[in-house]
């Protein structure tokens, strides 16, 4: 277990290094931060002096090395717009995004497993055909369209749910704000989380269905029938457990990808998370904030993938996490 973790951590560090090089190197191609920072009226000499002072005229490697040294200490630069450390700005926005992703994950877990399994077991049932049809529609419609549609129906026409913002929040441990614990917060979360889930959920339903259909055709499932097991046991223990293996792998990555999808959802719902913040940062050419966002998202990705690998090992006996080896 320790060896596995160490290996995974080294891998994660390498991945983070690559991400940092990539995200840092785009910062010279995003336009001139000075224009945003000081406006039109400042003369070219002062601009150049400012550039030198900020280190923007140094060679790339020198700049990168300085950035990396600071990053290791937890300093990802200072946002030009907020005039605060970029990491601090992101950390303010992170809880809102995590709320949103958790809400969407909830919908995915609650619906994809029963619907996918049902459609695999009864492929010709009307409900299976209906959900397969809906899933194609769900995958094809972009998030922002679903979001606008939901707002139109439930906020504008019916007036049942709020159309923007995060609602009441609770602060946990003095640092983490969440809207998951207040009724108003949950009401605000409903539409954004559904629209975020609308792209990934159909993908999960289809994936679980096709994987499980394949597993149901295997010899060991036929053998389970031949042993006279009750059908629930054949489906849920023999077939479903094997279905989970590929689903966990792909699913974990998808949850990481969902963090990226939050940019669209948060923008439509004016959700004060880091996706919304990222879009604004791009508009303001706030390069340190952009770079910091990319690195934080990369980190989230690496963490979810590591967790997925560990979970995979727990589900699949053929992956040995524990160093123990049975002597034959």
């Amino acid at each position: 277990m320790i060896a596995f973790l160490v290996r995974r951590l080294v891998q994660a560090a390498v991945v983070m290094l690559v991400i940092s090089v990539l995200s840092f190197s785009i910062q010279n191609h995003l336009g001139d931060p000075l224009r945003e920072l000081v406006g039109q009226s400042v003369s070219e000499e002062i601009r150049d002096a400012l550039r030198t002072e900020m280190g923007l005229n140094d060679p790339f490697l020198v700049q990168y090395w300085r950035f990396l040294g600071n990053a290791v200490k937890g300093d990802l630069g200072t946002s030009y717009f907020f005039k605060r450390p970029a990491l601090e700005v992101i950390m303010d926005k992170l809880p809102a995004t995590i709320d949103l992703v958790m809400g969407a994950t909830f919908w995915i877990l609650v619906f994809s497993i029963p619907v996918g399994a049902f459609a695999a077991i009864n492929p010709k049932h009307w409900f299976s055909r209906l959900s397969m049809g809906f899933s194609i529609v769900g995958i094809s419609i972009p998030v922002f369209l679903t979001a606008i549609f939901l707002i139109y129906v439930f906020a504008v026409e019916l007036g049942w749910l709020p159309s923007y913002g995060r609602g009441d929040t609770v602060t946990l441990f003095g640092v983490w704000t969440t809207s998951l614990l207040t009724g108003d917060g949950l009401r605000h979360l409903l539409l954004p989380s559904i629209s975020l889930a609308s792209v990934i959920l159909p993908l999960f339903v289809r994936m679980i269905r096709s994987e499980m259909m394949e597993v149901l055709e295997t010899e060991y499932v036929k053998f389970a029938w031949a042993k006279g097991l009750p059908r629930q046991r054949v489906w849920m223990v023999h077939a479903f457990k094997n279905t989970l293996l590929p689903v966990v792998t792909v699913g974990g990555v998808q949850i990481g990808i969902m963090v990226a999808y939050t940019i669209l959802t948060e923008t439509v719902f004016q959700w004060p998370g880091m996706g919304f913040m990222f879009l604004e940062a791009i508009n303001r050419v706030d390069t340190p904030l952009i770079v910091a966002y990319l690195i934080v998202v990369g980190l989230i990705f690496v963490i979810t993938n590591t967790v997925v690998d560990i979970v995979y090992g727990l589900v699949n006996p053929m992956v040995k996490l524990v160093g123990k080896h049975d002597e034959q």
């Binding site: 010899e219 499932v221 389970a224 042993k227 009750p230 223990v237 094997n242 053929m318 034959q328």
Partner: protein, 320 residues
């Protein structure tokens, strides 16, 4: 009264191109403790006829007519729960490839205990001790340790022994073995066959052995059924049938055994291939491969005289 009595069994597969009969008019009896072998080429309907007994034919195939009487009860139209109680309890199965038969994510103990718990009210501990006893019966060393292992930790021969142990758990009346040794190498094959034979004798179990290997049948079974294109074309005492096959196809099969040819000589073979089930010729299905063919064979399908111990479906059976 036979333990298992099958009459005029027909299984069809409705496909887009039309309904295909996988087996037709299959009838045989299995007495208590009797061992029969079903032989034939791939696609002759051997496996389908066996899976049909437990109503486990793969979709979209189904039992379209015929009767299956087991222990005096008609089971061809029984409901799911009745069939579930027979499967793995009174009639169990052994599959072809032990590498694929056991569930990769469940321990051996789970896969053994669940079978017992599905059929008998008992505690896990009781189920476990029966599992250990049966693992001993199939000569698996240190069974307590094997129970904690996963299938991938065991060899093919070991896994097939475990599959056999699972089939023995509930002391079934009949075991259906679908090519139980095809996926194993020759030395392991012999061991597994010997084990099956010994177990059938010890527990007085009936055995339906499906194979394409005449050598295996002659070693194990008292009676032999030869299938061709979905029908039984010859049946009888194994020794008699192999010594003097009456159907030209059976004679061809026996003649194709490598033991029948002197070393260095070209092996005998039956010309042509078995017709596809979609285009079984009129008359005798074997007529276009048969060297004794007459006009009668081309126009009229010979019937198998059922009921007698030795039966053949041929207009011109061979003698001697």
């Amino acid at each position: 009264m036979a333990l298992l009595s099958i009459r005029n069994l027909e299984v069809v597969f409705p496909l887009r191109t039309g309904t295909i009969p996988a087996i037709q008019d299959v009838s045989y009896d299995l007495e208590e403790g009797e061992r029969i072998g079903i032989v034939g080429e791939s696609g002759a309907g051997k496996s389908v006829s066996a899976f049909a007994i437990l109503n486990l034919v793969s979709q979209p195939g189904y039992l379209s007519s015929g009767s299956i009487v087991f222990e005096g009860q008609e089971i061809s139209n029984a409901d799911d729960e009745t069939m579930r109680r027979i499967r793995g309890n009174k009639i169990s199965m052994i599959f072809q490839d032990p590498m694929m038969t056991l569930n990769p994510v469940l321990t051996i103990s789970t896969q053994m205990e669940e079978t017992l718990l599905a059929h008998t009210r008992m505690t896990r501990e009781a189920a476990r001790s029966i599992a250990i006893e049966k693992l001993r019966a199939v000569q698996i060393p240190s069974p307590e340790k094997r129970l904690e292992q996963y299938p991938h930790e065991l060899s093919g021969g070991m896994r097939q022994r475990i599959v056999i142990a699972i089939s023995l758990l509930t002391d079934p009346r009949i075991i259906i073995a679908d090519e139980p040794t095809t996926a194993l190498d020759v030395t392991i094959q012999a061991e597994i066959l010997e084990l099956l034979l010994a177990l059938c004798n010890d527990y007085r179990m009936g055995l339906i052995l499906i194979t394409h290997d005449l050598g295996v049948v002659s070693q194990i079974s008292q009676r032999i059924l030869v299938m061709y294109a979905g029908r039984i074309i010859e049946q009888g005492n194994t020794r008699e049938v192999i010594a003097s096959p009456a159907h030209p196809y059976t004679r061809g099969l026996v003649g194709a055994l490598p033991e029948m040819t002197r070393p260095g000589r070209r092996l005998n073979q039956i010309p042509g291939t078995m017709p596809s089930l979609q285009s079984i010729p009129t008359g005798c299905p074997f007529h276009d491969r048969c060297s004794h063919v007459t006009d009668l064979c081309r126009s009229h399908r010979p019937d198998l005289v059922s009921g007698s111990r030795r039966a053949v479906a041929c207009h011109h059976p061979l003698t001697g």
